[in-house]
Symmetry: C2
Subunit: 338 residues, 2 copies
């Protein structure tokens, strides 16, 4: 059932139907209603593929993250969705993709979104695209918005990772913690792959704080999380223990969910929090303040980040805007776990 059949049934040309669908051109009210009625009666829905094929653009803003599911990612996505609803744009047009497991860099996915899917814009969370990909997007005029980090040639909404991490670790040190571990984003140890700048920045804040407090850095106190999952936290704590790191604190910039994994495993092992082990998470997701003990964490302005990213995408799609970098504040929220 295609557009021409609908046209025939309505006694008009298929172009008129197309115009009705897109609110374009001019036609009599009567014609418009007739067309609408036939569409409804025949249960006609235009083929998205045909539309994309002919316009060369898909009216979709893609959202890309390392995984599909985590509280932090969910909350960011929800805020983007909320904003879309308010603005009444792309209400049906936000699609979520993950690079998880497939490839760490997201290179392939980003290429597909650009060349195969031809989306209108891409919002990236916690992933660092290569310079080549950024260039390709630029060349095709498709806006790229990074959340949590930034890169030359793309827009971004970010916070000061170094400062916030410093603050958290400095707090731990000032509280007398000496053996402070960190669970950071992937690929800290394996040197052959790139470390994501976001993680790197947080690691830097950690190291700076150690130095500022006269604590020497121990490579054995570093664990990596590949996908910010709960399980990564469980695993990390087990690894620390197996390695006899004997930590008295863990800073977990991989996020609250991973921190929850640590907390959960610690409880199972009878490790007292914060007595034996202080824990600081990252993000301040909904559950953080309800945990037992309530999680001390670094709050990111999640809702704002999502909304701003969406607005940036919209602006960039409409008129070509200069690269814009929006800096927001992240700050530590002290609760019970540290």
């Amino acid at each position: 059932l295609d557009i021409r059949k609908v046209a025939k049934l309505a006694g008009v040309s298929h172009m008129t139907v197309s115009n009705v669908i897109n609110n374009k051109g001019r036609m009599s009210q009567k014609t418009r209603e007739k067309v609408l009625r036939v569409m409804k009666e025949e249960d006609y829905y235009p083929s998205e593929a045909a539309r994309v094929l002919s316009t060369g653009k898909k009216d979709v803003i893609a959202f890309v993250s390392a995984r599909l599911a985590s509280p932090f990612i969910s909350e960011v996505l929800a805020s983007i969705e909320d904003r879309a609803f308010e603005a009444n744009k792309y209400v049906y047009g936000i699609e979520h993709f993950s690079t998880r497991r497939i490839e760490s860099t997201g290179e392939e996915l980003l290429n597909r979104l650009l060349f195969s899917k031809k989306v209108s814009a891409v919002i990236i969370l916690s992933i660092q695209p290569s310079a080549e990909v950024v260039m390709k997007y630029r060349k095709k005029g498709v806006p790229l918005i990074l959340l949590e980090s930034s890169v030359i040639g793309a827009h971004s909404v970010r916070t000061d990772n170094v400062r916030a991490s410093f603050e958290a670790v400095d707090y731990l040190a000032k509280k007398g913690r000496k053996r402070i571990g960190i669970i950071a984003g992937r690929q800290i140890i394996a040197a052959n792959e790139e470390l994501m700048p976001t993680s790197l920045e947080r690691l830097k804040g950690y190291m700076d704080a150690l130095r500022a407090n006269g604590i020497t850095f121990e490579p054995g106190f570093v664990e990596e999380s590949s996908d910010y999952s709960f399980e990564d936290g469980v695993r990390a704590l087990d690894n620390f223990i197996a390695r006899k790191a004997d930590l008295d604190a863990v800073f977990c910039p991989a996020g609250d969910l991973t921190a929850m994994g640590v907390m959960s495993r610690a409880k199972e092992l009878g490790i007292k929090i914060p007595g034996d082990l202080a824990i600081i998470g990252y993000d301040d997701t909904l559950a953080a303040k309800l945990l037992s003990p309530a999680l001390t964490t670094v709050r990111q302005p999640i809702a704002q980040m999502g909304r701003l990213a969406f607005d940036l995408a919209l602006e960039a799609i409409q008129g070509d805007i200069e690269d814009k970098v929006i800096n927001l504040q992240a700050e530590m929220v002290v609760r019970e776990s540290a």
Copy 2:
């Protein structure tokens, strides 16, 4: 840059390129490599739209939920994704949509997925499609898999909502709770719209348990959650209080997240849990056992549900299978909140 240009550069027909892409037909190893090389060099990615347009099918399994973001939804989605990865099918081909805010029934979205997007299968979570939509899917041979509920003419993976809810509420009653409220899925009170069977079943379990314990049902003890959010829990508790329901327990089949909202609000108001108010959630999401107090809840076998739904979708896409209803066990997990 289209397939014919690549063909020209590789010195073959565009059909050969197509065959290389799809591993079809037979061509010399040399030819294949040459084509592959040119594709890589020229950064060629086939247009998804053209592919869909010509085949009439999109190689995508759609996942539909009421919102994009909640721990429960996230975990279900993650398990589907995991399974896809294991099976090495639809790894790039799972797309997530939500009916949130747009329309409660999902009717429009389901139609779009079927007619506009032409997806290969749809997995629906916690939404009750109308009989007409189910029929349309049937007619077009596109598998529909319901999670958490079921309907004639579609596959489903579900648990016994009535029994599990009965068990939870019966537990509360046996513990001496007399004024037991419930926060169920949307549209309990507003009679003009359909109640989702899942919620209805859980409500039935609640009412059965009340009756079994000689407690009379109070309409004022029922609150509805429209999208299973944290905020809905906050609001629900406020409403109960404003209404002077004076509850001593709340059963929250709307899910753990909503239960967390209740718990959070209760803490703010100085209501002791479980002393003043016992709370039972639903789903047993990751955070449940880490809360303070740890949440007593009804465990759903989330990972299994997602995996089975994916497998069902796969099976149904390949060969036409009889309608299959898989029943799983949900059971109460007693922790501290009740």
